[in-house]
Amino acid sequence: MPSKTARILRAPENFLTQEQITEVAAGRRSFLRSAFLAAGGIAAGAVAVRAAAAPTAAPRGAPAGDPAILERQPWNTSLGKPVAARGYGLPSPYEANLQRRESPGLTRVNAASVSFAPLQGLFGIITPSGLHFERHHQGWQDVDPAKHRLMVHGLVRRAKVYTMDDLMRLPSVSRIHFIECGANTGMEWGNVAVPTVQYTHGMLSCSEFTGVRLSTLLDDCGLDRVKGRYVLAEGADGSGMTRTVAIDRALDDVLVAWGQNGEMLRPENGYPLRLVVPGVQGVSWVKWLRRIEVGDQPWATKDEAIHYVDLMPDGRHRQYTSIQEAKSVITTPSGGQVLVERGACEVTGLAWSGRGKIKRVDVSFDGGRSWTPARLETPVLSKALTRFSVSWRWDGRAALLQSRAVDDTGYVQPTTRLLREVRGTKSIYHNNAIQTWRVDPNGEVSNVQLA
């Protein structure tokens, strides 16, 4: 029997004496209950007693309560799955509705296409790696890290080759940054085109990236700091994606990254190596990065001379437009959703700026007539997503929800009208206008644009 003075309860093994066992074997079970009580409320015993009791009968008429409480569920009446049954975890099947999705009709071949991250269901600022948006120009590849090489050459003293082993021996840093495709929200330049925040803003993700600074590699190769004014980054995929990055930026906060959210990059995001160019549109974050060339002029590659050029009203294309200016969007409630009940509703969304930190986000419920400052959730990081929230009581009336970001340069996110006055409607890229969601009295939320 357990000692009454013991401070730690003994495990229930062998708490019956040999005589008691003999008594039980002889058929005198009546004392068992007291024996269990004597064991000091040991969980195993208590559960066994409760389980043996008959369930309470529900009173006639009104239900006694929620069946989710009153009825035993499979997960508390059966043995669960063992550890490591799924060595690399998966989300619950109940989360299957949140998927990367293609927008029907956007492209005609899905190897040169886009999948959008389900922003409507994400929390905080980090995008799960498996839901990070994709943009491929010639299909994604799963590159063997043992055969992957990074070459640095051009205006450097020593052209060098690095293996993945080499790179991961170098001093690394981890930084949280957003990545947004230059064409994010591009379908909405002229008018409303898609229903939900996944399709309006889902070419946006934010991760903790781990890698070596590009400046470390350029120093190691002996960068020619006088003549070297641009670098060309090139990918190992079929498109041989190539983008020019100005040297000041390359030496500032650009990373050559292998890690994403604590794991290696996913193949769809450039495994085993990609460029991370904070604040700059995603196309410059070259995936499957294999080559860095230093030069004295920009390259005008296909994706900086035929695509990712912004058509202005005067018929000129702007070339090398790269910075993603301050932008925000409400993710809950957002287009294609239905508010389940009146009353308490937490309005939340994301804000970001390619030029620095988010300083403030304002939310409007009346289509921009009046504004309320939102709470910024920490951390608030430079060139990273910032989560904002406002508590709202929805009274069942129609509302026009908007959010407006202000960054630490003082830049204020513009209205659609203001942006169109300068850029026209055929720009495709860099649409950072204020988004409007209309809440109807029936609770349904839809994507609208204001005059």
Partner: protein, 346 residues
Amino acid sequence: MYSWREPLVLAALLAAGAAHAGEGVGRPATPAEVRAWDIDVRPDFQGLPRGSGSVLRGQELWDAKCASCHGTFGESNEVFTPLVGGTTAEDQARGRVAALTGNGHPQRTTLMKVATVSTLFDYIRRAMPWDAPRTLTDDDTYAVLAYLLNLGDVVPSDFVLDQDSIRAVQQRLPNRNGMTRDHGLWDVKGKPDVRAVACMKDCGPEPRVASTLPDFARNAHGNLAEQNRTFGPVRGADTTRPAGAAPTGAPAAAPAPAAPKPAAGLALARANGCLACHDVEAKRLGPSFRDLKARYAADADAAAKLAARVRGGSQGAWGPVPMPPQRQVAEGDVDTIVKWVLEGAR
């Protein structure tokens, strides 16, 4: 930030034997390695290889390797936006494409946009044909580009493009003066071109909704109820029902039924890019899978015949557009896809 302490710290580090970060890591690149990878061509033609190709030779290559995606005349809009069209002789003289202003031209073709001929050479050499990149020789690249330029009336039919004549072509590109870098969106300190004001109350006129998604497009992105969580303060709208049908406090949408597993054949066809050119029901660039089944239903050798065409390519059976060989599809998978097609692609 400069600090007087820095030189001392640096000296201390050096004294302690601290190495610079990359020392001893990596190895020199050999000249042959740099040559193998350094294939970029810049607007000033740095990197341009020696070689040549005629419009005539380009046409042969085009019909065999390029037409399936870009059309016989570079005009196709089936797979990618058209390469050619929308430019005039006046544009060529001026170096600006007039159709880029106003709404006169529905599509912006490659030749309407491109300002540097090096861009075309570089991209064709590095990334074309789309499904078999880097299989063109330098001479092939010159020839294909010569043909493309000929389709756009930039060079005559008897033109031979080489490392010298390409320089003159630059002066004939219709939109060579159409690019500008005069904007604040390249430099992190660049000047934004809009300056909004963060008004807080009584801002602007009463809002008026000017654009909404048309009713017919309500379900164009699928049932949004299946694209949202089934718990929490919101549900996805059931877009299989007309707008306004969902009452306030709609009961929680039942968990979306698990999508039926696509047939293995369909999954493989999708994974291997077959759906880029073929649809199950409708004719696209190539015949639909259902049409294939209809034509070959009675043919006892159909499976072997179709498998051979997938692997080796095909031309003429369904029209002038050839299907390139699909060597990326594993042997067993070809058979599974073909079997699935011949069973009706369900």
